[in-house]
Symmetry: C2
Subunit: 373 residues, 2 copies
């Protein structure tokens, strides 16, 4: 595969993009999109100019949805929706669409993003904390859950980008619908879809274009939307309209389709899981091997395979680390503003070479500045 | 300017895209976007992969907003928001954000889209019809308006894409905030912004990429959102967060910026207005010159400069017209499904050559099939 990373203007090294989102996209996908940017599907027009209600776009839309169904082995009793608004919109749209007559919903608190989700849900219902790892500074996913029997659903954030913790299994919540914000680890591993009532994911991590939001919902959960739900954000109405109640995000759907095919060509979700496990393990190894210099606050079994978050033992060196990384072509490594430190986001499209370059840099930096600790 | 339209595979003629939305984009914009698709701003990365919270994207975001403010001469007491969801989301978000303690809002009914807007608003408030042209089959914009004194606002659809009628002036509603869905004629002419309380526009007509939604709102109208409004769709919260409460539609904002600069380079909104007036007048002339064969149901003074809608007197010839147009490289001319007939959407990016090719085709088609009338 031809790499699109250009020589770094300063160092003549390749550049790597560790941004948390929008994040790195597969080079092959970007190259294909560039190639057909002015002439999609031999139409003489850009995909951007193609009417969504025409036969050619409708065919593409259907294919992209079918590809996703196949990739994730989504059973027939689940509807796939392509929506607008990003995952943050879903923080409100999940309770608006799913509460029905319920007044309570359960949430698992595991870090910055789940806490944010809970604050938004609290505007619509009584939020019960089914489990939380707040007491230990979100250093792990909580083991003990207590889900109320009379709850609308139980919500998790499958991967916390700011804190670097991740569920490495699909939780079992029995008859209570399990709702997952999978934005930051969507398509990074096979998922047992039948464990979930609903999965949502913003596209700007493992898919690419910000704005597009994938919702996978078990059909029996449809039809209970609150009266105030805007029609275009009503899951049931969008399901009935094949996600075309309003103009879909045409270019983002097209790019998503290219990414889905790229994942297939790379060996599917099994291979994505192997890649992210291997890549993250190597980075965590460098951190643990240099634990006088770097420190990862997350317990080993709960560390994210997508967002490797760590700190410098001497936090005064953080800015220097970021500045020297930048010069070495390792970009966007700054931790989430609410958490600080360093964050290396290694989504599906991050090549092994990027991880190796970061490992090398981390070892050199530790050697050079160890005396400052 | 180099044209990107490719030779038509059948006729060796150039292709022209008359789609109502997503519609034709400026060739120069698409060419620039293609050129820097893999390496935006000398970063070695695609804009699609660029984190929205980084300095380079934030700078771009601010520039795009400033360009729009300059282009439309938007006074300082108006906030510009870049939102998700398209105009259809605004059908709900306008009442959710602006009703406050009001229980009624006024709407001007002028065709398919305003009627749809009113149905959605009816889920949130009592919809008063301030004026309507339904009785005459939406053949004009209504002259006589009666706006209730105790109403939250008065809503218009400035251009009706399905019916081909357009306001050619900025209505004066006095102290009652005037709200306009300008999706389909946004940036096609200078607008007296101070006449409006709020203007919204989906981007997929005169800007380009579907999904991005521009909201221009007078600041004193902020702060009255209904409790059920999702936070990311709360105008006031997005205004406070500089439209970055959630990940913005980064690629769409970037493209919008290129389009804004292209409009400037073409002579600004005055020139867009001259172009669309001239182009539409020429098409209407062909229709009127052949009024035994073509018919435009809209009164001359109210005809849209953006969407030229007409019928064949012998409606049985409509499919043949569309098929032969397609062969001649004139694409997506089918009228809105609810209205039928022919629709030529001639947004800013439609070149004069496209209009001339359509005129030529229409004259030839009329000559060839006149005996069938």
């Amino acid at each position: 595969m031809v790499r699109h990373f250009l020589p770094d203007p300063v160092m003549d090294n390749p550049s790597y993009n560790f941004a948390a989102g929008p994040g790195v996209m597969p080079a092959a996908v970007l190259e294909q999109a560039q190639k057909e940017f002015l002439n999609w599907n031999k139409s003489g027009m850009s995909l951007l100019e193609t009417p969504f209600s025409g036969a050619s776009f409708k065919k593409l839309f259907q294919e992209v949805r079918d590809n996703l169904r196949q990739l994730l082995a989504i059973p027939d009793d689940y509807q796939i929706l392509f929506m607008h608004g990003g995952a943050s919109a879903q923080f409100s749209l999940v309770p608006l669409n799913l509460l029905g007559k319920h007044v309570k919903a359960d949430y698992v608190e595991t870090g910055y993003w789940s806490a944010k989700t809970m604050r938004e849900a609290g505007r619509y219902c009584q939020v019960r904390v089914a489990a939380s790892s707040a007491d230990t500074g979100f250093d792990s996913m909580p083991n003990t859950w207590q889900i109320a029997p009379q709850t609308a659903y139980c919500h998790i954030t499958s991967n916390e980008t700011a804190n670097g913790v991740q569920f490495h299994h699909d939780p079992d919540t029995g008859d209570i619908p399990l709702i997952a914000d999978m934005t930051s680890d969507f398509l990074s591993r096979p998922v047992e879809i039948s464990r979930y009532g609903l999965i949502y994911a913003g596209a700007q991590k493992n898919i690419g274009p910000a704005g597009l939001t994938v919702v996978i919902v078990r059909k029996d959960l449809l039809g209970h939307a609150h009266a105030a739900t805007p029609s275009v954000f009503n899951y049931c109405l969008q399901a009935e309209a094949d996600s075309m109640l309003n103009t879909p995000l045409t270019f983002a759907v097209y790019l998503a389709g290219l990414v889905f095919r790229w994942i297939e060509s790379q060996g599917g979700l099994e291979m994505m899981a192997q890649n992210s496990f291997r890549r993250s393990a190597r980075l965590y190894q460098v951190i643990d091997d240099n634990n006088d210099f770097y420190c990862c606050r997350v317990q080993p079994a709960h560390r994210s395979y997508m967002n490797v978050c760590f700190n410098l033992v001497n936090e005064a060196l953080t800015e220097k680390f970021l500045a020297e990384a930048e010069i070495s072509g390792l970009h966007h490594l700054k931790g989430h503003p609410m958490v600080g430190g360093i964050r290396a986001s290694i989504y599906n499209a991050m090549p092994d070479e990027g991880v190796e370059a970061l490992m090398l840099f981390m070892r050199h930096f530790a050697e050079n500045y160890r005396s400052y600790v």
